[in-house]
Subunit: 198 residues, 2 copies
Amino acid sequence: MPLLPPQITKVIEEFSKLPGIGPKSAERLTFHLLRSSKASPESLGKALADLKVELKYCKTCQMVTLQDECSICSDTSRDRSMILVVENPLEVIAFEKTPYRGLYHVLHGVLSPIDGMGPEQLKMKELIDRCKTGSIAELIVATNPDIEGEATANYIRQKLSDTVKTITRIAHGLPMGADIEFADRVTLKESLAGRRSL
Amino acid sequence: MPLLPPQITKVIEEFSKLPGIGPKSAERLTFHLLRSSKASPESLGKALADLKVELKYCKTCQMVTLQDECSICSDTSRDRSMILVVENPLEVIAFEKTPYRGLYHVLHGVLSPIDGMGPEQLKMKELIDRCKTGSIAELIVATNPDIEGEATANYIRQKLSDTVKTITRIAHGLPMGADIEFADRVTLKESLAGRRSL
């Protein structure tokens, strides 16, 4: 008979599926939840159960939102001729801390054949359709400066160079291999200012 | 209006309450769950909701179990004259990988006044009651070799030195400040062999 009851093993197993959480960390988190007064399995469980309820993706930029259109896309004061293309919603939050006031497009991933991520798995068709309206003067590609991010940037350039006049890439002020969402706002601001033609 | 929908913020907040998970890691875990094919918020949420359902603590040793008595306490082949006192259930699992075949007692914590943990918050009364039956020849105190663990060991010695003939402490083969649950089985075996009178 296993020493740990199955419901404990199950939580450890589910935690272990998360990035950066190994079996030992998963055990610690599980037992922490069993005896902590601050965190509880019920409240985390409830929050997770509700996570996808009523969650929508903006019909324009694909940002997570509660409405059909997110607060950035529906803000008429923003520069609607620029689109900043990012990998995920957290990067929108990061760029919102810079002076950038154009629009965004969230790809929800990057091209990565090894992980089964092709253009169909990304919000690439939606980006191409947006650019075809002809109102976009500049597309800034802000995927991460790593292999997949560069490949995705090249794919976007190939697909849209005939459609959008100016396609730029954020400056490589960010060291290769780093993560945009962990960069400070000054580095992000510099990376926008130093963008170059793709 | 906040950029992230409240159900996302809520999950990030709940994850942040866990030890070793800061706000940035919490964000990554949350968005990983939203797009991962392997892990899902529903299955982790369900596992967490079920965590405490039907979970019991062994009436004898306080180990987590599904029955009134755990599989170790109900195993008649074990040496019932020895009790190994540990801080939490994971340490029972760790010691079960050594040749030790006596019984256990899980305190579910250590004395730590700064965290509001006094003897009443631990399974200390249950330990004292077990020892009072007179059938215990040796009590091995295997709390972690840190300040709280040493304080708890001293408290146990004070409370039970008149009741139990031999009270021992696992050998300090473990470096001070280390965690028992991360130690390898050889180190744990050595720490049992080198135990000294408390």
